[in-house]
Amino acid sequence: MPTDLLILVSVLIFPGGLFAFSLGLMLKGVDRRVAARLQGRVGPPLLQPAFDLIKLGFKRTMVPDSAAPGVFLAAPLIGTVAMLLAVALVPIAGVYTPDPRLGNLLVLLYLLSVPGVALMLAGSASGSPFGAVGFSREMALMLAYEATIVLVVAAVGLRTGLAEGGVVTFSLAEIVRHQQEHGAYLLDPLMWPALGAFLFFYPANLGIVPFDIPEAETEILEGPLLEYSGPALALFKVMSALKTVVVLSLGIALFCPIAPHGIAGLAVWLASMVVLLAVGISAVRVSIGRMRIDQAFSFFLKWPLLLAAASLTVVVVV
């Protein structure tokens, strides 16, 4: 069946699998390089994350005595597979539209929370007290930011659905098509609160400063990842690289999927990824410090949630 084959290709080669994997590693490299430049350093080579992965492949994976070996080794696998599926769910404007059978925005939301769950599993299965602290922090953070992203997605879906004459739509392909015909939500003042809320959501979801609390290496020694070494740690690195791709491209698909068709569209998409990364991740990362978990928790239940709720209300009322 050709469509089945197409789905397989989209999960394993483009835009999932190989493509997303190399793109994710490149983005990580760009991030480290930009952060170093902003601090006035030279920084590592662009391919450094790839070197790191190869290095980790040569190291030994140690399983601590106190760990539950099955879960300990399965956790990174679960997270990585979920992210592979998730990449194939996000459309690239003018280039790629996911097969509706793969799933819609709601499936994507569930898949997006899997890496967090994988980290929690890893932390609790590693049997280390730091892992346990990381576990509880990850859980608190997830509780705090999940509500925000659900409301943001609902607002975008509702706005598209209402404009198209139906009710709410959870098809990302439809959201992208609507924006291509009627202009990006980035330029629609009604959607700005949702955009703001999303901008708070994604550093938390990606676990970067100021919300890298569960993996704070200076206080809890990378929490859930503390006990991992060798190939298992490499899988976690792959997972986080893929997740960067998913979350950034989700942001682009939700708010600014305006691009020409074909190769030019891909180039525009890549450029917006890099810009979003450099401005939204690297620059933020080097200029502020980490929040405490209670600060982050109450912060998320205040501002981003308020913004997201406001945007949902505005969409319903207008």
């Binding site: 590592p44 290095k55 990842l225 503390l226």
Partner: protein, 145 residues
């Protein structure tokens, strides 16, 4: 075969550093932090990264004279670091005990207990010396991969 060798050459470009303070006066640790954090000395150029967990480490930097209180903890920590690894002694303390030598409380020299690959003498050593030590350690590490 050739592929494996090439991959190993590439892998050697990603040495992660881990610091063990075995009772140092903190002078050496400050220099290590300087080496990492100050733009002028940036070790990230070499692909180095300080990691928080011994399980992620490739190159171990030991400072201090290994005092009696922390000896067992340090030895255990060193065991927890997955092979292949390279051990670097930073400062004159791990070499001879430095200003703490002849004290009843220190077990220096450290190489009675751990196989030290590179010594970086100095009290404290300059960042340039530390970077050179790390570069030598990378060369040794390359042969062990």
């Amino acid at each position: 075969m050739l592929l494996a060798r090439n991959l190993k050459q590439i892998a050697a470009r990603s040495p992660w550093l881990y610091r063990i303070n075995s009772g140092s006066c903190n002078g050496c640790d400050v220099e290590l932090a300087t080496t990492a954090c100050i733009p002028r000395y940036d070790v990230e150029r070499l692909g180095c990264q300080y990691c928080g967990s011994p399980r992620h480490a490739d190159i171990v930097l030991i400072t201090g004279p290994l005092n009696r209180r922390v000896k067992n903890a340090v030895l255990r920590l060193w065991e927890e670091i997955p092979d292949p690894k390279v051990t670097v002694a930073v400062g004159v303390c791990p070499i001879s005990g430095g200003i703490f030598r002849e004290s009843y409380a220190v077990c220096a020299p450290v190489d009675q207990y751990l196989p030290i690959d590179v010594n970086v003498p100095g009290c404290p050593p300059r960042p340039q010396a530390i970077i050179e030590g790390v570069a030598q350690a990378i060369e040794i590490w390359r042969t062990r991969l």
